[in-house]
């Protein structure tokens, strides 16, 4: 049985999340570009996954029984890279190359460049289908690994997500855990103003998911709710993780304009001070 190599308690994960947020601010401002809002929105979810939930060991990624994680919201690459650096999957110095020519860290993750990346995402609505295939593969080959897919909420406007949702339930994939980073904002504006995905829980329930609303910034709750999932219930799981886009930095929080914007000059110092 593989376990998480860190298995940190929630208070330690909070510290790690703070470190990741600092990395995000510094990396994005250094690169001069980045999806800062999305990176900060998903940070506590990623920290909980990589420091506690995922049964995975960075030195044993080829293990066929390890858990899988797909970042379907590929534009959250910055947050993902900083989490991988904090967890020792990649060297910290690599973050300085973010978005540079031929860097191992382009704006969306590339599996040929970073081992922990499972799929080259960036176009939205792809990760759930691939997660379904991975989860189905476990069932067919009688292995016990779990598959975690992190999507945005605007991403749920893609029809392919619902094709995948239908099949997850048809194939009774109780080893598939869909986490929705529900920050209620997309590139242009509020998701509900553009193309509402509500009532989200009802929709997921109707598609046959075991659905729960959780606080996406509370590691204790993320871990507890994940541990409590019934992995033999015959239904795929969905955790609607309520988050704030740009979480942790007051002038970035909950503003659509920060979807693809980075802190500059004094904003960087201000942001780091706020995180302390």
């Amino acid at each position: 049985m593989i376990t998480n190599e860190y298995s940190l308690p929630p208070d330690k994960i909070k510290e790690r999340a703070k470190n990741i947020r600092k990395k995000i601010i510094l990396m994005n401002s250094h690169a001069g570009q980045g999806h800062t809002g999305a990176d900060l929105s998903e940070t506590d979810i990623l920290a909980s996954l990589f420091f506690n939930i995922l049964h995975i060991n960075k030195d044993d990624l080829a293990n066929p029984n390890r858990d899988h994680f797909i970042l379907s919201k590929g534009h959250g690459a910055g947050g993902f890279y900083c989490t991988l650096a904090e967890a020792g999957y990649i060297e910290e110095s690599l973050l300085d190359t973010y978005l540079k020519f031929d860097s191992r860290l382009p704006g969306h993750p590339v599996k040929q460049k970073i081992k922990a990346v499972e799929l080259n995402t960036g176009a939205l609505g792809h990760g759930v289908s691939v997660g379904v295939g991975l989860a189905l593969g476990a069932k067919l080959s009688k292995r016990n690994y779990r598959v975690f897919v992190l999507t945005g909420d605007g991403e749920l406007q893609e029809g392919s997500v619902w094709e995948a949702a239908m099949s997850a339930s048809q194939f009774k994939l109780d080893n598939l855990i869909l986490i929705i980073d529900r920050n209620t904002l997309q590139l242009a504006d509020r998701t509900r103003k553009i193309m509402s995905v509500e009532p989200l829980k009802d929709k997921l329930d109707a598609f046959g998911f075991d659905t729960k609303d959780i606080d996406g910034h509370n590691p204790a709750e993320i871990i507890e709710q994940t541990n409590n999932l019934d992995l033999s219930c015959g239904k795929p799981h969905a955790l609607i993780a309520h988050t704030i886009k740009g979480k942790g930095i007051s002038f970035i929080e909950d503003k659509a304009v920060w979807h693809h914007k980075v802190p500059v000059g004094e904003q960087v110092t201000e942001a780091i001070e706020e995180l302390e």
Partner: protein, 314 residues
């Protein structure tokens, strides 16, 4: 040669899947309500757990195939080429090609195989589109022997591959000693008067046309192109250098198929040659109707090929 019976290439494809599993290849076939299109029944009877039907959802079909490949399976998709190519284009581009996953895409009933059903059901752009995706290997078998060879190659070698398949009955053009080699042309007839280049479903028409021409002492060099990527550019070049006359024929748009590839070779090598491309007219949708009449209209049948070669030799 000499085998007179005809076989549906899909039956060979499915028999080869069975053979591969028996050889220990950990194969799973993903279909999108396309159990009859893929003629998968004999495989499914033996290995029901190795067939996944995702319903009418091509994007999900490709995505699930990718996931299955990441879990260790050799993933095979088997559905109609037009829907695979168009509907799941982004999944093919990102999840299969860019992510370099071990997925084998079988585009069934490509070209205008669906005849009277019309352009929604044609794949006359599949080679062009797949060539636009960085790395995927592109193969098109011309007869039962080559089909088995290509399927085995695809299942035993890693990486994204697209196999352009046809329906209907196909004669044997190769004996069982034939070995498919990726990146090599297959010279079906050696000749010196004209180079005739074809692939997939039309190679047997080209072969018959070359027999008709032989009766008039016209010596056709017939190149079958089972491997479109990688492409044997030197093989094509050497033949054209010899004959200085070349005709390409394909059940594909004149844009982006073997005709276009041959034009590149001619231009890049500054070849002084006569050149005619046969295919579906560029810049418009194909005529719809019975397949043999479509082929006749575009001159990509036995008679049309014969006439074109007579024309280029004038």
């Amino acid at each position: 040669m000499g085998v007179s019976e005809k076989t549906d290439l899909r039956n060979i494809m499915v028999e080869t899947f069975i053979k591969a599993v028996k050889e220990g290849i950990n194969l799973v076939v993903v279909v999108g309500d396309s159990t009859s299109t893929s003629k998968i029944a004999p495989f499914q009877e033996l290995y029901p757990e190795r067939v996944v039907n995702v319903g009418i959802a091509e994007q999900n079909l490709v995505g699930i195939s990718v996931g299955l490949s990441l879990s260790g399976y050799v993933s095979v998709t088997a559905n109609a080429a037009p829907f695979l190519i168009a509907r799941s284009n982004e999944q093919v581009k990102n999840d299969v090609c860019y992510s370099e996953t071990n997925v084998k895409l079988f585009g069934l009933n490509a070209g205008v195989a669906y005849g009277s059903l019309g352009s929604t059901h044609y794949a006359i752009d599949d080679i062009s589109i797949m060539l636009g995706l960085g790395n995927i290997k592109i193969f098109a078998p011309s007869d039962p022997v080559e089909t088995e060879q290509i399927v085995l190659y695809a299942l035993k070698n890693k990486g994204p591959m697209y196999i352009r398949m046809d329906n209907g009955l196909f004669p044997y053009l190769h004996n069982k000693e034939y070995r498919f080699t990726p990146g090599k042309v297959d010279i079906l007839r050696h000749g010196s008067d004209v180079t005739l280049i074809s692939l997939g479903s039309l190679v047997n028409k080209a072969y018959k046309a070359s027999l008709d021409l032989e009766k008039e002492s016209i010596d056709v060099e017939l190149l079958n192109i089972p491997s479109i990527r990688p492409l044997d550019r030197d093989g094509i070049l050497n033949s054209i250098l010899k004959t200085k006359k070349v005709v390409t024929v394909e059940e594909h748009s004149l844009h982006g198929g073997i005709g276009s590839l041959t034009a590149e070779i001619i231009a890049e090598n500054k070849l002084d040659t006569d050149f005619i491309r046969l295919g579906i007219t560029e810049g418009q949708f194909s005529k719809a109707g019975p397949r043999d009449q479509i082929r006749s209209y575009y001159g990509i049948d036995r008679k049309g090929i014969y006439n074109t070669i007579k024309k280029i030799l004038k």
